[in-house]
């Protein structure tokens, strides 16, 4: 089985984001970067499938030089080889999907995993667009995954419902948080990851169909109030606030 997992390196959400006036992306200096959390579930699902069926697992990422760290993590978690499409620009979803499509269209992957969305832009589109470009089955927001010749997944719906679906390969699956328990890469595997094949390629992105006009924090709403004191005092304060706003 040929398996692909698409990942993105994103800024750690605990970073302090600063956007210079007139800019449409935050200043990346001094920020810490990590493998997109959703993609960790995708990598884990892909590694588990590889362990189950054997086969070959490739990881791909589109991003600047630093994204190599995220690829290294996926290799340490169990991917066999990595493809790094070097791209310094901030691409929109369609552009990213198109760039990945150009790299993989001739590869005939049986299963492609992506995160449901990236934690920095959150469009949730790259996986599904890629599925459409490849003209294969796609299913999003997956919280359970099984494979026994066919794919069986569960999707998380609004209102706490879960839909169970079956579909045939080739297919693309976008992974929701909680799909599995992403493993820690072991230290020996981290050291071994540097010996795994990793190719760097460039691929011109198509023109963007969107224009980002501005980026910034939302206007400040009312300030949060910290409730302090012992437990009883805190509870009394919360009850008073709820009553004041006619919520209790």
């Amino acid at each position: 089985m040929k398996i692909l997992v698409c990942i993105k390196q994103v800024a750690d959400l605990e970073s302090r984001f600063q956007v210079a006036s007139g800019q449409t992306w935050f200043n990346e200096t001094d920020l810490a970067f990590r493998l997109n959390e959703y993609d960790e579930f995708a990598v884990e699902a892909a590694v588990q499938l590889k362990e189950q069926t054997g086969g070959d697992l490739t990881v791909i990422s589109v991003g600047p030089a630093r994204a190599s760290e995220a690829l290294k993590k996926a290799l340490a978690m169990g991917a066999d080889q990595a493809v790094h499409v070097l791209e310094d620009q901030q691409l929109e979803s369609f552009q990213t999907a198109q760039v990945i499509f150009e790299q993989i269209k001739a590869q005939g992957y049986d299963l492609i995993f992506t995160g449901m969305q990236s934690s920095d832009k959150g469009s949730g589109q790259v996986g599904l667009l890629l599925g459409e470009m490849l003209k294969i089955n796609s299913v999003s927001c997956v919280v359970a995954f099984k494979y026994d010749g066919r794919i069986e997944v569960e999707r998380e719906l609004e209102g706490g419902l879960r839909a169970k679906l079956k579909l045939a390969t080739p297919a693309l699956v976008t992974c929701q948080l909680g799909l599995n328990q992403p493993r820690y890469p072991t230290l020996p595997n981290i050291m071994k990851a540097k010996k795994k094949p990793k190719s760097e390629v460039t691929s011109p992105a198509p023109a963007s169909r969107l224009q980002v006009v501005a980026l910034g924090p939302p206007p400040k709403a009312g300030a949060a109030e910290l409730i302090e004191g012992d437990l009883l005092a805190q509870v009394s304060k919360v009850v008073a606030i709820l009553k004041e706003h006619k919520l209790a």
Binding site: E69, K72, Y184, T186, I190, M191, L226
Partner: protein, 380 residues
């Protein structure tokens, strides 16, 4: 010069940090209170490959570079100082001398199980009457036909309570001073080895600090480590490395104290604003950050040198002196910033404060570090 970490180092740091924050940190207060590291922590360290640290893969280790190992001890110690020293003593004091001075057969028999965490490593040098003055140790060994026989006592042995594998030092003749000392690999479950007690301590309470009586302990000849009477050199080289790992433990404690203080100073309101807006607090935070960062640079330099096989006793001693001082200073100031809450056992500061103190004492007191540094000056 390049002060950046490489990809593997960053990934090791992030991985150990994540594991430590998720699995170890929530149990740090209980570890202190119960005077024991929870038993489930040991297999968790094994799963990650931490026990194998910087020992090469061909010897059964995890093959980390030395700085990655140091980053691991730092990340683990930020979560729990007792768990940090469990790894530091195991790797730097238990595994390191066998790795450096052991034969191929000794490595296969003793080092490989240590690297898997099947045995926990320790280092039996200190005695009731021989602390900083190592050469005055009294544990004697007699050479017999097919074995050595050791008799004496050992004290303050970190990780001793696990009864794993130790490197033990003894003299053939106390009048020879440091020239009479040999090193041996010891299975702590051997007949004649008696665990007298695990000390009750001010800090790092989850860590075993054990006292042993050795009564005619038979050690097979093939467990002599290095050459006869090479023990003092083995001990000193081991401690040079051990000091870097204790520096890393100190960095972890100091970082945790700074993080907690920073967090508290933005949340705690007095006189109508967060206390972090008062210069008195800001200056404390600035001094803590500067002390921590300078100690970190020195520690990483010592680790980098060791990785290049350019170990420097002087640089390691400087790292240990600075880092333990930073840990003591940062925990003290962080506790002060927390005021009454810092003194309360409901907050972690009083534990960090107690944990920090040991870093100025073990693997050479700060006074011993100064002696090592000054000796280095004379050579130059």
């Amino acid at each position: 010069m390049d002060f950046g970490l490489n990809e593997e180092q960053k990934l090791v740091q992030a991985t150990v940090r994540q594991m430590a924050q998720e699995q170890v940190r929530p149990k740090a207060a209980a570890t202190d209170k119960n005077h024991a590291i929870p038993p489930e922590t040991l297999p968790q360290l094994a799963e990650l490959g931490l026990w194998g640290s910087y020992i090469p893969e061909e010897d059964g280790g995890s093959g980390l570079d030395y700085l990655s190992y140091i980053l691991s001890v730092e990340a683990l110690s930020a979560a729990c100082a007792s768990t940090g020293v469990l790894l530091a003593a195991h790797a730097s004091l238990g595994c390191d001398p066998i790795h450096r001075s052991g034969t191929k057969e000794q490595k296969a028999k003793w080092l490989a199980p240590l690297c898997k965490g099947e045995k926990i490593g320790c280092f039996l040098l200190t005695e009731p009457g021989a602390g900083s003055d190592v050469a005055s140790l009294k544990t004697r060994y007699l050479e017999q036909d097919d074995h050595y026989e050791l008799t004496g006592s050992k004290q303050f042995i970190t990780n001793g309570g696990y009864l794993g594998t130790g490197v033990v030092f003894a003299t053939s003749d106390p009048s020879l001073g440091h020239k009479g000392i040999s090193a041996f690999i010891l299975d702590l479950k051997s007949p004649g080895v008696t665990l007298l007690k695990n000390e009750e301590k001010m800090g790092i309470r989850g860590s075993f600090t054990s006292a042993f009586a050795l009564d005619q302990v038979k050690i097979p000849k093939d467990q002599l480590l290095g050459a006869p009477h090479q023990g003092f050199a083995i001990a000193m080289e081991t401690l040079d490395g051990g000091r870097i790992s204790i520096s890393a433990q100190a960095l972890g404690i100091a970082q945790e104290a700074l993080d907690l203080a920073l967090n508290y100073s933005t949340e705690r309101q007095q006189f109508g604003k967060p206390i972090g807006q008062f210069q008195a607090i800001r200056f404390k935070l600035a001094d803590m950050a500067a002390a921590l960062e300078s100690a970190r640079l020195m520690t990483y330099k010592a680790a980098w040198l060791k990785n290049q096989h350019q170990e420097s006793a002087q640089v390691s001693a400087m790292a240990k002196l600075l880092a333990s001082k930073a840990a003591q200073f940062c925990t003290d100031e962080a506790l002060q910033i927390h005021g009454g809450y810092g003194y309360s056992a409901e907050y972690p500061l009083e534990r960090l404060y107690r944990d920090a103190k040991i870093t100025e004492i073990y693997e050479g007191t700060s006074e011993i570090q100064r002696i090592v540094i000054a000796k280095g000056l004379e050579k130059g």
